[in-house]
């Protein structure tokens, strides 16, 4: 469980990058929902926390692939693989990310 920042420091419609390995992006949607996904786009090499947030979708700032924050699935090309999603909780006013265990990454 990794503390991110105080809830009030992440306004609605904004995102923040957490420097874990690999880095994670935490989003607070316009509706106030919190989501966390792997920050690096599965297409090439861009940071999704710097993307365009619209509802539950984030658009990659490099080639405009879009990911659903709820599932991590890409909703359009050029990305074809999902990003991992992570559970988010708020404890004592602080946002926490619970990292999903890395799957067998036999490289």
């Amino acid at each position: 469980m990794i503390p991110v920042c105080r809830l009030e420091d992440l306004p609605e419609g904004e995102s923040v990058r957490v420097e874990t390995t690999p880095p994670v992006a935490v989003f607070r949607t316009e509706d106030g929902e919190l989501y966390a996904i792997d920050d690096t786009c599965t297409h090439q090499d861009a940071s999704l926390s710097e993307g365009w947030l619209e509802g539950c979708l984030v658009e990659c700032p490099l080639h405009a692939a879009s990911f659903d924050l709820r599932t991590g699935e890409p909703t359009c090309l050029p990305a074809r693989r999902p990003v991992r999603t992570h559970r988010v909780t708020v404890e004592d006013g602080v946002i926490h990310v619970h990292l999903t265990a890395e799957e067998g990454t036999a490289a």
């Binding site: 090499d45 993307g51 658009e59 700032p61 490099l62 080639h63």
Partner: protein, 395 residues
């Protein structure tokens, strides 16, 4: 339409195939490609592929599931040699012919070469095979590399070679590289990236010739100097692959001439990507090659131009650890305003910058260096303007 043939099996050809199926074309789909490979992505070739951070399998643009779903006949490793006068037959180099009702021209562009014979150690960088050969040469130990041409591909290649520990010199004939793309002021800022990383940039000097008998040993400059070299990379631009269409009725002039809906004078022939001159301009950008096929396929299936390409040109480039992004169209005389970050004598400041190009009080283009978030906002704003202009006036 019962048969559609796509000529060119790369980025824009693949996107055209996807669009044909997505838009309901259920006839015979033939894809002809000169390269033996299934579609792969070119931008990483000069970036992470050359530096070894990306492998070949990561370049693939499609996978077995998708190719099965597309249900196409792939004729790979064979070049199209001609298109009959009315665009109904594609003639292949091996003598085969494909009778077709519709044609998508997606033959892209080819790297321009220096005149003269070929010497070992001299490379261009357009295809996977080019990149494999260059990567192998760079793997032989520390070398003297001369890059001819300081455009995006030249700069990215120089950056990747320097990152691998080679001694690199870039030769640019113009007084400054990237002026056509960025305008003089911003081109000067980006040129500073080379020097900052210890890459020598020689400008205002052309190349008189290459030295060496079997293998290259040096580059003769027009100012009389000779640069020693074991590897020479020629990055002097690309020419659209239209020679195979000479003799067809299509109008060719720096690309296949199309209306702003990617349609040629023959309603059953459309062109997309680097080979297409759409509504008077030709782009060599990844995003154009992925956006044009949707419009082109709609118009092809309709038999007339129903839709126009209404996007803002966009490209990116990765050099020396910096990400450069540009959107819009600029002209000489535009004024450039810095809106984020800073520029120092030594190039982009620590956190990059965002610059707006203005003409007549309106933003016409934006350039970002390491400012993806601010750039994305500015780019979307430009797109919004273009879309609003596209709305027909209500009378």
């Amino acid at each position: 339409m019962r048969t559609v043939t796509i000529v060119g099996a790369s980025l824009s050809g693949l996107y055209a195939a996807r669009e044909l199926r997505a838009q309901g074309f259920d006839g015979r789909l033939v894809i002809v490609g000169e390269e033996p490979h299934l579609p792969y992505d070119r931008p990483p070739l000069s970036k992470n592929f050359l530096s070894g951070r990306t492998d070949e399998d990561q370049l693939a643009l499609t996978d077995a599931d998708e190719t099965a779903g597309l249900d196409a006949e792939w004729l790979l490793g064979v070049r199209a040699r001609g298109l009959d006068t009315r665009g109904r037959t594609v003639v292949l180099d091996d003598g085969r012919t494909v009778s077709t009702d519709g044609v998508v021209l997606a033959t892209g562009a080819a790297a321009r070469r220096l005149p003269g014979g070929s010497l070992a150690g001299v490379h261009t960088l357009r295809t996977l095979d080019d990149a494999r050969a260059l990567r192998a040469d760079l793997g032989l130990g520390a070398r003297q590399v001369v890059v001819i041409g300081g455009g995006f591909i030249g700069a990215e290649t120089a950056s990747s070679c320097a990152g691998l520990g080679h001694a690199v010199t870039v030769v640019e004939a113009a007084p400054l590289p990237l002026v056509p793309q960025l305008g003089a002021d911003m081109a000067a800022v980006c040129a500073a990236l080379h020097r900052r990383r210890g890459v020598e940039l020689i400008t205002g000097t052309g190349v008189a010739g290459l030295r060496g008998t079997a293998t290259v040993t040096g580059v003769d400059l027009t100012d009389g100097r000779t640069l020693p070299a074991d590897i020479v990379i020629v990055g002097i631009g690309a020419t659209p692959n239209t020679s195979w269409l000479v003799g067809s009725t299509l109008a060719l002039h720096d690309g296949v001439l199309c209306d702003d809906g990617c349609a040629t004078a023959l309603p059953q022939v459309v062109a997309v990507g680097d080979v297409a001159r759409v509504g008077g301009s030709r782009a060599e950008h990844w995003t154009s090659a992925t956006e044009q096929p949707r419009v082109a396929v709609t118009n092809l299936l309709a038999g007339r131009t129903l839709q126009r390409v209404r996007t803002v040109p966009y490209f990116w480039s990765d050099q020396y650890g910096s990400r450069i992004q540009f959107a819009g169209r600029h002209r000489d005389g535009d004024t450039v305003h810095l809106t984020e970050g800073e520029i120092t004598d030594d190039g982009p400041g620590e956190s990059g910058f965002l610059a707006h190009y203005e003409r007549g009080g309106r933003t016409v283009a934006v350039l970002g260096v390491d400012q993806p978030r601010a750039f994305l906002r500015a780019r979307r704003e430009l797109q919004r303007q273009v879309r609003e202009q596209a709305v027909p006036a209500v009378l």
